[in-house]
């Protein structure tokens, strides 16, 4: 019963949040608009929280299971708040052949984040993305909109250090969620 009450509270709270209200109002009566609503939440918050999904399920009359099928099918959506520095390692064909898998390994080692997840302190989020459109610089890494090209594993430590320093001084990220993974 306690669970039932807490879940009702979470849904009630989600229903009062301005971005949720705006997204629902905009899309509610249009068929097949689940993805658009989820996009708006993702763009506003960097992820789609569970309480918002629970509320959307009721309000849009879409089963929660269907919402999670969409949220997990497209890599664009995140289910948890990502870290402040979002590291996107390109694993498109050119970058892959030029050695991006070794860069990924190095980032895992240096940050402690697994691919697709964030560090416990929410400082770093590590993800692999498809072609970012600058194959001439392969292998390429992008952190919060800043692009690093022609990298070797030896360069990674420096990049991680740079972003650790920036957030130690509480410098806001240039762009919160710059790169969508294959969506």
């Amino acid at each position: 019963m306690a669970n039932t009450i807490s879940i009702r509270r979470a849904i009630a709270k989600a229903s009062t949040e301005p971005d949720v209200i705006a997204a629902v109002r905009k899309w509610k009566n249009k068929r097949g608009s689940l993805i658009m609503v989820l996009h708006e939440i993702q763009n506003a918050r960097g992820y789609v929280p569970r309480d918002v999904s629970l509320y959307l399920a009721e309000e849009l009359e879409v089963p929660l299971a269907r919402i999670y099928e969409a949220l997990t099918f497209y890599h664009y959506f995140k289910l948890e708040a990502p870290g402040k520095a979002v590291i996107s390692v390109c694993t498109g064909t050119a970058c892959y052949l030029k050695g991006s898998p070794a860069l990924v390994d190095e980032f895992v080692k240096e940050t402690g984040a697994e691919v697709g997840s964030s560090t416990p302190d929410k400082l770093f989020h590590l993800q692999c993305v498809r072609c970012v459109g600058c194959c001439g610089l392969a292998p390429v890494v992008n952190v919060n909109g800043k692009t690093y090209g022609k990298l070797t594993p030896a360069d990674i430590k420096k990049i991680v250090h740079e972003w650790r320093e920036r957030f130690a001084g509480e410098i806001a990220p240039e762009e919160a969620h710059p790169i969508a993974d294959e969506s």
Partner: protein, 581 residues
């Protein structure tokens, strides 16, 4: 009609027929894995590929409709080679745990691997390491063994409209799971078990409690008693080579005694008691306006769970009467215990059910402890029973026919049809007619109620009263019925029906989630016929004429709906949240 050729044989089929269906008609077997006749094809596995003349590549027989003049080849060396490769790829994501798997010997993937002679592993194994989920204590989800055919999600979403299961992520990472990072018990799952009955492999199966039963049977202190559900008697034979629908009641009683049960009772007796209470409840509401109309039946625990989660505004319409299983449980540990002088705490009550949700029903509310103890200790499915019979080394086909034990074993034809769609309604009408008129109507059979149509409606005239009834099975169909009742209520109109029977599983309990794998509508019909025949052959066919039921009311309960009846035979319902997390 469309003309085509399969392997050089001329065929004629209706437009829209798939190559697979047409091949079946032409007695050509195309191997399948993800396909199930109950469900729309998903083309997930690729085993059923065939060649179509002038087509650029091979086509999947399950989803390709036949077109005029099509020339199809279903077997040649190249097709066999492709099918073998598909199987090898599926097996490369499937653990080699056949010996430790509950589906060992009953697995569709295993038997295809055998047919195609996959004796070695050429590809590296990539196994998804997702832990199994037994949280419902009714069904176990083991995604590690899943071949991603999608049958379970389609049946859960499209047929049952429960949406507990979904296919999360994609490709190699796709996994069958409830929505989010939660366990099944925290999801809307109603434990109907249709996912487990449709799974081709050991990825979803019943929560196995056979060991608990063996342990109780080994305990000399325990007085072990068993009851068997209506639908079990016409299905258990399927694992011993009997045809579906063969009624094996007598042999089953004998087998259970040989396993060590001290008393063998029959859930059908409980069904007769359910009818006494439910028919009285109906007459009370219909004639005395003592409660809202329509009255909706509640013998089906998956339906009860569904209603509490999805239709809780209908609680007032629910019969408060317990299911036959629960009634036999409560009576065993009260009436029988008192009569025989056996302490209730020494009784170990096992129920054998066609159903995974019955495992939850026995603890779902405080009324399931009406005797002062947990009325039923363990509920096992037909599949678990069959395994126990195999383990016991009982030569089931050769057993003599025996009788059930008194006082909770004798049943009428009305009790036995509880296991098929329409049966509860038919049984209730026989007794309601008597309660309304004090006379038995000769109108006993309502054949139209036994068909596999999802929703069946009828108007029955009893003593000048037109009683509008409705029978629905398969939860998607049930929801449509409930929506109509709700719409009438909102519009202030008369209810569309007076009395509604609901069973969650297609076909009713004969198609239950705990029954044998591989059920189709043809098999459901045969099983159903077995129960109908058991009734048509019975000497006594009205619940209120069961002599042991009459004795029970005379000696112990008093009248239907009396205080004592309420204490032992009735329960209550509460709205429940679909998601707990």
């Amino acid at each position: 009609m469309i003309n085509a050729k399969i392997n050089g044989i001329d065929i004629q089929v209706e437009p829209g027929t798939s190559i697979l269906q047409a091949a079946h008609k032409a007695q050509v077997k195309i191997p399948t894995l993800c396909y199930h006749p109950d469900l729309p094809p998903t083309a997930a596995c690729g085993i059923c590929v065939v060649k179509v003349k002038n087509a650029p590549n091979m086509m999947r027989a399950c989803t390709t409709p036949i077109t005029e003049g099509m020339e199809i080849t279903t077997q040649d060396a190249e097709i066999v080679q492709i099918r073998r490769s598909v199987l090898e790829m599926i097996l490369s994501n499937h653990p080699n745990e056949c010996l430790n798997c509950l589906r060992n010997g009953e697995c569709e993937l295993q038997s295809l691997a055998e047919d195609f002679g996959i004796f070695r592993t050429r590809l590296p194994k990539i196994i998804t390491n997702v832990k199994s989920d037994a949280s419902t204590k009714s069904i176990v989800l083991d995604p590690k063994k899943c071949i991603r055919c999608g049958r379970c999600t389609v049946v859960c979403q499209e047929k049952q409209n429960v949406w507990a299961l979904s296919m999360k992520y994609r490709g190699l990472h796709s996994v069958v799971s409830p929505a989010g990072d939660i366990e099944l018990a925290d999801s809307p799952c109603v434990r109907c078990g249709q996912c487990s009955a449709h799974c081709p492999v050991g990825a979803i199966y019943e929560y196995n409690q056979t060991e608990e039963v063996w342990k109780a049977l080994m305990d000399p202190e325990m007085h072990c008693i068993v009851q068997i559900a209506p639908a079990v008697r016409v299905t258990v034979g399927e694992s011993f080579g009997f045809a579906p629908g063969q009624n094996l009641t007598g042999k089953l009683y004998a087998a259970l005694r040989r396993m060590g049960f001290k008393k063998v009772f029959d859930t059908n007796f409980g069904a007769d008691v359910t009818i006494m209470e439910e028919a009285s409840e109906f007459v009370d509401r219909f004639c005395n306006s003592n409660g809202p109309i329509p009255l909706i039946t509640t013998c089906c625990p998956a339906w009860v769970d569904f209603m509490e989660k999805f239709e809780s505004d209908m609680i007032d319409h629910f019969s408060s009467c317990k299911s036959p299983q629960a009634i036999v449980g409560a009576l065993t540990k009260s009436y029988y215990a008192e009569k025989m002088g056996v302490p209730a705490e020494k009784i170990f009550m096992v129920s054998i059910m066609p159903c995974t949700a019955k495992k939850f029903e026995i603890v779902r509310a405080k009324e399931m402890f009406a005797s002062g103890h947990q009325d039923i200790d363990v509920s096992i499915t037909t599949r678990e029973l069959a395994r126990m019979l195999m383990q016991a080394g009982i030569e089931f086909p050769q057993l003599p026919e025996e009788e059930a034990d008194s006082p909770l074993g004798q049943y009428t034809g009305a009790g036995t049809i509880f296991g098929e769609t329409g049966g509860v309604m038919e049984a209730a009408l026989r007794t309601a007619g008597y309660l309304l008129t004090d006379e038995n109507s000769e109108d006993l059979e309502f054949d139209d109620l036994h068909t596999l149509d999802g929703v069946k409606e009828m108007v029955v005239n009893v003593a000048g009263n037109d009683i509008k009834i409705c029978v629905a099975h398969g939860l998607k169909n049930v929801e449509d019925v409930i929506d109509r009742v709700r719409a009438a209520k909102v519009a202030g109109e008369d209810p569309p029906w007076h009395f509604i029977e609901v069973m969650a599983c297609p076909g009713g309990c004969v198609g239950g989630g705990g029954q044998f794998w591989g059920v189709t509508d043809d098999i459901r019909k045969e099983r159903s016929k077995g129960l109908t025949q058991d009734d048509r052959n019975a000497e006594i066919r009205r619940s209120h004429e069961n002599p042991d039921v009459q004795k029970l009311y005379k000696d112990f309960i008093g009248k239907p709906l009396s205080d004592k009846a309420h204490k032992l035979f009735h329960t209550h319902y509460v709205p429940r949240s679909q998601y707990k997390r």
